[in-house]
C-alpha cells in the first residue's frame, strides 16, 4: 500500500492521460465515424466510394502503423505534431472506421418503412437521415458501438510505444523497481483500465436498456 501512496502522483497522471486519450479519441471517432456512415449511404456515388476506401484502408492497417505514420510520417510533409495530439489523432482516425461500420449496420437495421415514409412526406435525404433514421439507428447500435469504444480504451495502450506516458507506459518506466513492486505496478495498471472499462460497460448497459426500441 505504501508503494501506491508514494507513487500516487505517477499513477494519477498516467490514469488521467489514458482517460483523456480515450475521451478525446472517442469523440473524434464518433463524429468522424458518423459522418463516414452518412457518406456510405448517401446518394452521391463518389462520397460512398471515398468512405468505403477510408474504412477498408484503416481496418486493414494495424494501429501501430497508423501511429507510426502520424508520429514519424507527418513531419516529412512539414506537419510537426506533438505526441499526445498525434496519439489522439491516430486513435480517433483508426476507431472512426469501426464506428462507421457499427453505425452503418444500425442504419441498415432501421425498418425500411421508416425511410420510405420520411421520403413520402417530402423530407430530403439529409432530413430523413437526421430526423428519422439516425436517431433510431443509434438506439440499436448501442451494444456494438459500446464494444468498439471499449476496445478503443484498450487500444490507447499503444500510445505507450510513442512517448505518451499513459497507464501501460508505467511498466517499462518503473522496470527498475524490485519484483514485488513491479507486480504492484502491474496490478495498478490493470485496475486503472478497469476503472474506465467497468463503469463504461455498466453505463452502456443502462443506456442500452433505456433507449431500446420495442419492435
Amino acid at each position: 500500500m505504501q508503494f501506491y501512496v508514494d507513487n500516487f502522483g505517477l499513477f494519477r497522471d498516467a490514469f488521467l492521460t489514458t482517460l483523456s486519450l480515450s475521451l478525446l479519441g472517442g469523440l473524434l471517432a464518433l463524429v468522424l465515424g458518423t459522418l463516414l456512415a452518412a457518406f456510405r449511404v448517401s446518394p452521391i456515388t463518389p462520397l460512398r466510394g471515398l468512405a468505403t476506401f477510408y474504412v477498408e484502408t484503416f481496418r486493414n492497417t494495424p494501429l501501430t502503423v497508423v501511429f507510426f505514420f502520424i508520429i514519424f510520417g507527418l513531419p516529412q510533409i512539414d506537419f510537426v505534431i506533438g505526441f499526445f495530439p498525434g496519439a489522439v489523432l491516430a486513435i480517433g482516425l483508426y476507431t472512426a472506421a469501426f464506428v462507421c461500420e457499427a453505425v452503418r449496420s444500425g442504419i441498415n437495421a432501421v425498418a425500411s418503412g421508416q425511410a420510405e415514409a420520411a421520403r413520402a412526406l417530402g423530407l430530403t435525404f439529409g432530413q430523413s437521415l437526421r430526423e428519422v433514421v439516425l436517431p433510431q439507428a443509434f438506439r440499436t447500435v448501442v451494444p456494438p458501438l459500446g464494444n468498439v469504444l471499449l476496445a478503443m480504451v484498450k487500444n490507447t495502450s499503444i500510445a505507450a510505444g510513442f512517448a505518451v506516458s499513459e497507464l501501460s507506459s508505467l511498466l517499462p518506466r518503473l522496470v527498475n523497481a524490485n519484483a514485488g513492486e513491479l507486480v504492484l505496478v502491474l496490478i495498478g495498471v490493470v485496475v486503472g483500465y478497469m476503472l474506465i472499462t467497468v463503469p463504461s460497460a455498466f453505463a452502456l448497459h443502462r443506456v442500452e436498456r433505456r433507449v431500446a426500441i420495442l419492435r
Binding site: T61, S157, L171, Y193
Partner: protein, 303 residues
C-alpha cells in the same frame, strides 16, 4: 445497388449538381495530393535515387526488410496455431459439465479479454524476468498474442458450438456416444465450419497485432525500419527515412488486405455451402473491430 430506400434516384437536376460537386471534390482531393507531393518534392523525398535504396541489394535494405517480414510472419504463424489450439480447449472447458473445469476456463477468458494486449505483453516481458524467468522478445510477443487471442477465439468457438442445433447433441447422446465423442465428432466439426469466417477475421487481427512487437523491440517490420533509419541517419542524415517508413507500412497494409480478402472469400464460400447454410443468426457474434462475440459487454479486442 438495387433501388435505394433512403433516397429517390437522383433526377436530371440532382445529377447535374452531383456532377459539379464531384468535379469540385475531385479537384480538392487532387489539390491535397498535389500539395503533399509538392511538399515531399520540396524536401527532395521523391528523388528516384532515394527510393532506389529499397530495391538495391547492396544497401542491405531489401534483405533487412525481407527478414523482418519473415519474423513478422513467424510470430503470426506460431501465434495463430497456439491461440487456436488453446482457444478450442478453453471453449470446451467453459462448456464443461464440471464446475471445477468451467470456473477456471471462464475466469481465464474474462480476465484476458478485459485487459489490453500490450499490458499482457509488457507483463511477460518486464515482470517475468524479475522472477528469474528471462524470456526473449519473440516469446513475450507470441505469448501475449496467444493468451489474449485464445480468450477471444474461445468465445468464438463457444458461440459456434452453442449455435449447433440442440437435436444434434441429443441425437448423438441417444446413439450412445460419450460426451467427448459428441463434442469431437458431432458438435465441433459443425461449429468450426460455421465460425470459419469470424475465425479467420480474428486471425487477421492477430497478424495486425504482431506489429506491437515494435514497442518491445522485437525486430518485426516496423522496428526493423526504425533501426534501419537509426543506422542511416548518422551517415546520410534523413536522406532515406521517409522511404523506409513508407515501405514498411505498405508491406504491412498489403499483407492485411490480402488476408482480409481471403477472409471475405471464405465467408462467401461458407454462405454458398449447403452444409453450413443452416446458420441462423449467431447469438452475440458479430464481425466487429474486433470480430468478437461479446456477452459481458466488458470485452472485445484489439487493434
Amino acid at each position: 445497388m438495387s433501388t435505394p430506400v433512403l433516397f429517390d434516384l437522383p433526377g436530371p437536376k440532382a445529377r447535374a449538381r452531383i456532377r459539379i460537386g464531384t468535379i469540385v471534390g475531385a479537384l480538392l482531393i487532387a489539390g491535397i495530393v498535389a500539395f503533399v507531393l509538392i511538399r515531399l518534392n520540396g524536401n527532395g523525398q521523391l528523388d528516384p535515387q532515394r527510393w532506389a535504396i529499397l530495391t538495391d541489394p547492396r544497401s542491405g535494405v531489401p534483405q533487412a526488410l525481407g527478414e523482418a517480414l519473415l519474423r513478422t510472419l513467424q510470430v503470426a504463424a506460431v501465434g495463430m496455431v497456439l491461440a487456436t489450439a488453446l482457444g478450442l480447449l478453453l471453449a470446451v472447458g467453459r462448456l464443461s459439465d464440471h464446475a471445477w473445469v468451467r470456473a477456471p476456463a471462464s475466469t481465464f477468458i474474462e480476465f484476458f479479454r478485459a485487459i489490453p494486449l500490450l499490458v499482457v505483453i509488457f507483463a511477460l516481458y518486464f515482470v517475468l524476468p524479475k522472477f528469474g524467468l528471462e524470456i526473449s522478445a519473440f516469446a513475450a510477443l507470441t505469448g501475449g498474442l496467444v493468451l489474449y487471442n485464445s480468450a477471444v477465439l474461445a468465445e468464438i468457438f463457444r458461440a459456434g458450438i452453442l449455435s449447433v442445433d440442440r437435436g444434434q447433441r441429443e441425437a448423438a447422446l441417444g446413439l450412445g456416444m460419450r460426451k467427448s465423442q459428441v463434442m469431437t465428432l458431432v458438435l465441433l466439426p459443425q461449429a468450426v465450419r460455421r465460425m470459419l469466417p469470424v475465425l479467420v477475421a480474428q486471425l487477421v487481427v492477430l497478424l495486425k497485432d504482431s506489429s506491437l512487437g515494435f514497442i518491445i523491440s522485437y525486430f518485426e517490420l516496423l522496428r526493423q525500419a526504425r533501426s534501419l533509419v537509426e543506422f542511416f541517419v548518422p551517415r546520410f542524415g534523413n536522406e532515406y527515412t521517409f522511404q523506409i517508413y513508407v515501405a514498411a507500412g505498405l508491406i504491412y497494409i498489403m499483407i492485411n488486405v490480402l488476408l482480409s480478402q481471403l477472409a471475405k472469400y471464405i465467408e462467401r464460400r461458407t454462405r454458398r455451402n449447403k452444409k453450413a447454410a443452416a446458420v441462423h443468426e449467431l447469438p452475440g457474434v458479430e464481425d466487429g473491430p474486433t470480430g468478437t462475440p461479446s456477452r459481458t459487454g466488458l470485452s472485445t479486442t484489439t487493434t
